[in-house]
Symmetry: C2
Subunit: 240 residues, 2 copies
Amino acid sequence: MTYCVGLLLNEGMVLLADTRTNAGFDNISIYRKLYTFEEPGERVIAIMTAGSLSVTQTTLAKLREAIEDDDATPETSIMLAPTMLKVAEIVGARLAEVRAEVDQKLSAMQGASASLIVAGQRRGEGMRLFLIYPEGNFIEATEDTPFLQIGEHKYGKPILDRVVKPATSLADAQKAVLLSMDSTLRSNLSVGMPLDLVVIERDSCKVCFRRRIEAGDPGFRAMSEAWSAALRDGFARISI
Amino acid sequence: MTYCVGLLLNEGMVLLADTRTNAGFDNISIYRKLYTFEEPGERVIAIMTAGSLSVTQTTLAKLREAIEDDDATPETSIMLAPTMLKVAEIVGARLAEVRAEVDQKLSAMQGASASLIVAGQRRGEGMRLFLIYPEGNFIEATEDTPFLQIGEHKYGKPILDRVVKPATSLADAQKAVLLSMDSTLRSNLSVGMPLDLVVIERDSCKVCFRRRIEAGDPGFRAMSEAWSAALRDGFARISI
């Protein structure tokens, strides 16, 4: 399983993804699920993936191919697309194509599916955060719903529902997504470390901070233990 | 949607269910999902239901009919069954039958499904807690897994994972299931008040405490607010 979460805040965007994938229960490995594309100061795009690795890897490969193509146009390359909306459309179209191809090959089986989070900003445009469905259609984060999740999203939603607002600071937002991931890791063993964290400050149009958090990372462990202690203390103090 | 949770602890069992059902998005109503059967001091059985109302209501009606039948036997009546395992088997068999019937009628549609939690004790036997799947098979709570959930179970699992152990007191257990429900109510609006809470003390073989918590219940609201405050405080104190 996968858990990816993206926040769209006044100060910027915060993205977090795990890296565990499994092809069957006994074939578990580590694959990056958070990809970034940037022309610093001009354009930054982050894509997070959930679902069938065969679909997400091929989709990303096709997006990269289109960027590097000598005949790349604003209609095909996400690095030339005039708006983030157009980026979301290109990504959605590639995802739907790849999914249809793979589905056809797997028709006898359950079918392969995937969903993506696309986040980014182009100079002169606002920051935008999209969730792209397997069919290629998408929804966008707003003031009222400043976060989007894909994969195993439910365990980690309560903490986000409580603390994430557009005015949340980027430091608090990093804490929130890490605690949201921590709850998910505890409740579903098939979501796993290491984690990839990316922060994009508003109007910077670049990846301002990037951190890979390995299993056993002392900072993450300390935070996780402090949160457990805070929950236990809070629980003990409440009367019914 | 539904959320029901049952805890099997050293001191007894704690059961909590919501009451919201919907037949389509614009037809929402209140139905009890927690049913109890008791011969105080001799036998107590609680059943919680999730899934298609047409399946769960008919299953419960058949179980009641079998209890009241003049020809009731230990093979048909959950109030005569010699063990809780037999109770789980009878309930599973009725559920599977009803589901198959309803499924046949609905074959053109998505099909109707349901799952149940069955908890109880018969004098001389231990307390037992089962989760019965739509097909009628079941699993049982153990020392390692002292709680079972049906319905919209993920939002409320992290808190249970952290605080519920077999040695948890019944007071703390009530707090834990109510906070677990509170997280679920916040994250999924289709799970809703009022709530039904039942406590069965070990070896009492009766319902020792029963409480219906209505929307706006001041105690529940105070607990919910205290928990939000504790989470916010804990969150603010943690550094990354």
